[in-house]
Symmetry: C2
Subunit: 239 residues, 2 copies
Amino acid sequence: MSTQPRAQSAMPRVLAFDVFGTVVDWFGTIAREVDALGLGVNGGEFALAWRAGYAPAMDRVRKGELGWTRIDALHRMILDDILERFGIDTLDESARRALNLVWHRLDAWPDSASGLARLRSRFTVCALSNGNLSLLADMARHAGLPWDLILSAEVFRHYKPDPETYLGVCDVFDIAPGQMMMVAAHESDLAAARACGCRTAFVERPLEYGPDSKHPLPADAGFDLRARSIEHLAELLGC
Amino acid sequence: MSTQPRAQSAMPRVLAFDVFGTVVDWFGTIAREVDALGLGVNGGEFALAWRAGYAPAMDRVRKGELGWTRIDALHRMILDDILERFGIDTLDESARRALNLVWHRLDAWPDSASGLARLRSRFTVCALSNGNLSLLADMARHAGLPWDLILSAEVFRHYKPDPETYLGVCDVFDIAPGQMMMVAAHESDLAAARACGCRTAFVERPLEYGPDSKHPLPADAGFDLRARSIEHLAELLGC
C-alpha cells in the first residue's frame, strides 16, 4: 500500500464514491431516528439489523431470483421483516413509509461535503452507489453533497460489485478503467473495482457500524491510496 | 393557456428541464467559438447547421436504424459532415474532438442558474435532456447549474420525445405523471410530455436560434404555464 498515487501512472480523471458508510453515517442517523420514535428497542441494534438485510436482498437481485428492484423497495421488505422480529406492531403503513425514507436523509460524516468540494477542484466527482437515484438526490440535498453527477446501480441495472457498475462509470465518461478511481470504506467494493482495472482508494470509517463495532479495518490490501477521511484523500491527491 | 397552475390540482413535485435552448444558449456559444477559430465561415450559420443535424440523427436512433448512440457521437458525425459542406479542411482529429466538446461548455441564459436555485426551494429540479450524462455534468459545472439530479436520454436509452423518457422521470421519483412538470422552450417536447399525463411549462427563448431567427414563438398551445424566463417561472410557481 502506498499513500501516494502510483508514480508511473497519470492521475485519475474521475473519482467514483461509494456512499453508504463511506460518505454518510447510516448507523448513527438510523439509530438516532429509531431511538427518537420510542419504540422500546435499541436504535443501534435496529440499524445493524436493517443494514444486515441489505447484501442478501441485493444478492437475490444479482442472482436473478428477484427482477430489478430498487433499494427503496428492498429496504422496505427488510424493514417489514425486522419490525416483526423486533416485535414492533405499532407502525402503520404511513409510519413505515416515513421510516423507510430515513435512508434518503442520512447525515454525512463531518469531512464529506468539504472533502468532496476540495476534490472537485481537480477531478470529476461522482457517486456510484447501490442506492436508487431519488434516494441519492434527496440525500445530496439533505447533506449538501456537491456531486458533479449522481450515478447509481439503477442506471446500470446491476448492483455493485457487478463489473457492469464500475465499467459503466468508465463508459459514461468515455475513459479507460485506469482513469477512474473507486473510493470506498469497503474492501469488497474496491477489490471488484480493481478487478475491472480501476484505481482504488480506501477511506477508513471505524465508526461505520457504531461505537461497539466488531468490523476491524482491513490491513493493506493493495489499495492505491488509503485515507483517514475524504478531506485526507483530497490532501493525498494534491487538492 | 393560463399563467397560473391549474386550480383544481396540487402543485407538481418534480420539475424536469429540457436543456439545449431552454437552459443554455447553444447558438450564441457555438457561434462565438466558431468565429474565434477564424475558419472563414459565419459562426452563426455553422451553429444552425450543426443543430439542424441533431433531430434527424436522433431519429435514426429512435427508429432503430442506428443502435443506441450518445449525443457526443451524433454531434461528431454531424460535425464531420458540415465541415465538409462548409469546405473546412484545416481541422485535424484533435481539433475536431476539441470543437465537438463545445456542447459540454455551453453558456447558460442569464436567468437560468438563479432561476433553478429559486425553484429548488420548493421543488425537486432535474435535467431531462437528450444530451449524454458526461456532457450534462460538464455543462452543470461550467454554467453553475444546481440540479438535484441529472437525468438524460442515456439513462432511459430512449431519446425525447419517446414516452419512455418522461415516464422514466416519474418512475425514478416514484410519482404519478401529474406530479411531474416538463419545462421546455419547444412545443414538441411539451406536447409529448402532456400526452404522458405530465404538466407543462413553456419558457420563451426568442433568441434560441440567434437574432435573425425565423422560428416564431408558438401561440397558446395548452401549456399549464408560460414564462418569459426561468426566473419568471419561479415567480409563477410561488418561489
